[in-house]
Amino acid sequence: MSVLRVENLTKRFGDVLAVDDLSFAVQPGEIFGFLGGNGAGKTTTLRMVLDIIRPTAGRIEVLGAAPDKRKSDAIGFLPEERGLYSHMKAIETIVYFGRLKHMDPADAHSHGMELLERFDLADRAKSQIGDMSKGMAQKVQLACSLVNRPELLMLDEPFSGLDPVNQGLLEDEILRASKRGAAVIFSTHVMQHAERLCDRLLLLKKGAKRFEGTLEEARDTLPARITAVAHPAIASVDGVASAEPVEDAGDGFHRYDLRLTPGTSSEAVLEACTAKGIALRRFEEQRASLHEVFVSMVGEGEVQR
């Protein structure tokens, strides 16, 4: 059974179409990347899943129930805009959120302390949030979202504002949650994290789905680029759509950027070159990066490296 199932979800704010007929499903143990530029509809979708806002149309199922049933005991959520009660102590805050998720206070306390230990914050458990650094407070908030060992962990732009060390810590927690069987959804517009972590991806533009699938499938949406060092005759090989000379390599050889006709594999071109006796000093296939896929689908302006 899918942990989260979204069908034909639409959300309008007045005349603005924020989410447009979106459908997807997330399975247990899966890390699902929710990619899109600013205003793509990522946060709106997550808010609808949490029943913070209601959809205009469509259907959402969280662990087999409608969002308004609020299975908060099985959900962990880290919002993009983070903040906690400044006068509460770190462990008090974690226990408070744990109890709001129907946890037993003692269990919430012990697991909260375990998380703080893991985040190197055990000695600050009784510090007030207002006395902590921003990074520390963000880790406390992450602990709040993890304290109930959620079956569905939703992280909205979780890496924003974190230093590289804490980004690594967060990646570890995402992988840990996935290993114990939780479905993890995180939204981001930083492709490196998605490339490293995601089992599947969903690309959004202006509220509509542009792609859904694995990283490999995403890369396959763009034709592979081949760098070859050869004689000019390579341009006449079957399957080569264009051969752009980049630089002179000497002895009549040039470095070419080859573009293949759709449906032609790099192996077929290599074979054709051999059959035609075209000498090759270099033949290297370069698959599209997720960044390139993203740019091609949503535009350069939407991406952040």
């Binding site: 029943d51 906690l84 408070y96 709001l100």
Partner: protein, 498 residues
């Protein structure tokens, strides 16, 4: 009750209880209420007004004045003693004594009898024999006027010298010894009674009872002399002068007069209404601070991922209610302690004061209107908190609301203190936002049962509408940070969510 609501309420309560301002207010209010009467009584003029009579016509006028004022002081003491005896039922100490008679305005003869039987000291000695241990002692009132002899330098001074010496006397100040300071200086000229002009200097507007008594004494003196000049014997002239009606007076026992009784009966209800207002304003502003913090610290989304907006709102309301009840609990506790350790008049006053609020119906009504009043007003604070990103923005919404709520309540309470139960009071009873204050305050004066039930039902309907519509506003406003809603957006937020 929903577990999440209780968790939110407990957190709200803990947050407010952790504020210094909460504890300061909690303790300052009873301290202020205790200090108020003490300050008031210390401000009361306990010192007798010092009077210097400069009698240049032989001294008989000065003597007559001093005697008369002494006589009136005794009449006043006798009246107070009579009220004390009546309040505590001590007439059996001497049923024939004038202070055991409460059915008349004391005549000169009564005062004379009182004096001849040894005055207040002798009366108290008799009363003490029958006074139970728990009955407080009689507090002898301070005399209103004291007469001091004129300084010798003033005796012969005339014109400017007289004026400057009188000025010095009047400027003498409170701490100056007798003879060197006075509040009133009265000059009976050498030509008196042929020239009946009496001159009075005062460092303030003279009291009318002083002037009228001076006038009465000197008029009697002048008439006595005129009667004597007419050949009427002194004893006959005195009889003519002393002819006065005997006024029989029927009054309720102390604290039992219609107006006095009404005021005493209204003390607790009025105090309840006032406390409701005070605690609402305080807990409301603390709650508002908390809501604004939630918005400005951007933790609403985390909360709403766990609980429904309705649960958050109800938790906040319950938290505010708990804060209000705690404050009232402490204040009422302080009042009970004071009442327990206070003997006499205050305890006597508290008994009738508690009468209108001690029946089961009144207690149920009090709790109902108190709780509903709290919800009706607190929910407005909660909604404002959901709309404002900062305290200054919240103040912008709050000020008109506060004025709209508080101003009519101020009129209402002052009307009821003045014993008026007019149209304004009737209107405010039926306007739900002010119903709790009006009904609570009217419990002492007496409110018709149909009015109480009718306005209570109307209030319940109003609160239900508030919960629906302000609940929508709350939900719609929670995540709309950074957006200042215009009138249209505000109206849209009242509509049911899609």
């Amino acid at each position: 009750m929903n577990r999440n609501v209780l968790l939110v309420a407990a957190r709200e309560f803990r947050q407010i209880a952790a504020m210094k301002s909460f504890w300061l207010t909690l303790l300052l209010v009873p301290v202020a209420l205790a200090i108020g009467p003490l300050l008031g009584s210390s401000l009361d003029e306990e010192e007798a007004t010092r009077v210097v009579v400069l009698d240049r016509a032989g001294g008989s006028a000065a003597t007559a004045l001093e005697q008369r004022f002494g006589f009136e002081e005794d009449r006043s003491v006798l009246r107070s003693l009579s009220r004390y005896v009546r309040r505590h039922g001590l007439e059996n100490a001497d049923p024939d004594a004038p202070w055991a008679q409460h059915d008349r305005w004391y005549t000169d003869a009564d005062v004379l009898t009182f004096r001849q039987s040894g005055g207040v000291d002798a009366a108290l000695a008799q009363i003490d024999k029958v006074r139970p241990d728990d009955t407080p002692e009689f507090d002898i009132p301070e005399p209103e006027y004291s007469f001091t002899p004129a300084p010798t330098a003033l005796a012969s001074a005339q014109g400017d010298e007289l004026q400057s010496r009188v000025d010095a006397l009047l400027d003498g100040g409170e701490d100056a010894p007798d003879g060197e300071a006075a509040d009133y200086v009265l000059l009976v000229g050498e030509g008196y009674p042929a020239d009946p002009t009496i001159r009075l200097w005062s460092n303030d507007q003279p009291r009318s009872n002083f002037v009228s008594q001076v006038q009465e004494v000197l008029t009697a003196d002048l008439r006595q002399r005129l009667l004597a000049d007419q050949g009427i014997p002194a004893s006959q002239a005195a009889a003519i002068q002393g002819a006065a009606p005997a006024i029989a007076v029927t009054t309720p026992p102390p604290g039992g007069g219609a107006r006095e009784a009404l005021l005493i009966r209204s003390i607790v209800p009025l105090a309840l209404s006032y406390i409701l207002m005070l605690s609402l304003m305080l807990s409301g502003s603390w709650m508002l601070q908390g809501s604004v913090e939630e918005r400005s610290n951007k933790l609403l989304e985390s909360l709403l991922a766990c609980i429904r907006p309705e649960e958050l709102m109800q938790g906040k309301l319950l938290g505010a209610l708990a804060v209000g009840f705690s404050m009232i609990g402490v204040w009422v506790g302080c009042a009970i302690v004071v009442a327990f350790f206070t003997q006499g008049e205050i305890a006597d006053m508290i008994r009738p004061a508690l009468e209108p609020v001690s029946s089961p119906t009144a207690i149920v009504a009090m709790i109902y209107f108190f709780v509903m009043g709290y919800i009706a007003v607190s929910i407005i604070f909660v909604a404002i908190g959901a709309m404002a990103d900062s305290m200054s923005e919240a103040q912008g919404y709050l000020m008109p609301v506060l004025i709209g709520i508080l101003l009519p309540i101020t009129f209402l309470l002052s009307s009821l203190v003045a014993g008026k139960d007019g149209l304004l009071v009737q209107i405010l009873t039926w306007v739900p936002l002010w119903t709790p204050f009006a009904v609570l305050a009217r419990l002492g004066m007496g409110i018709e049962w149909w009015e109480m039930i009718g306005s209570g039902i109307l209030l319940a309907g109003f609160v239900a509408l508030e919960v629906v519509f302000l609940g929508r506003l709350f939900r719609a406003s929670l995540l709309a940070t950074g957006q200042k809603p215009g009138f249209k957006q505000l109206m849209d937020r009242f509509k049911a969510p899609a």
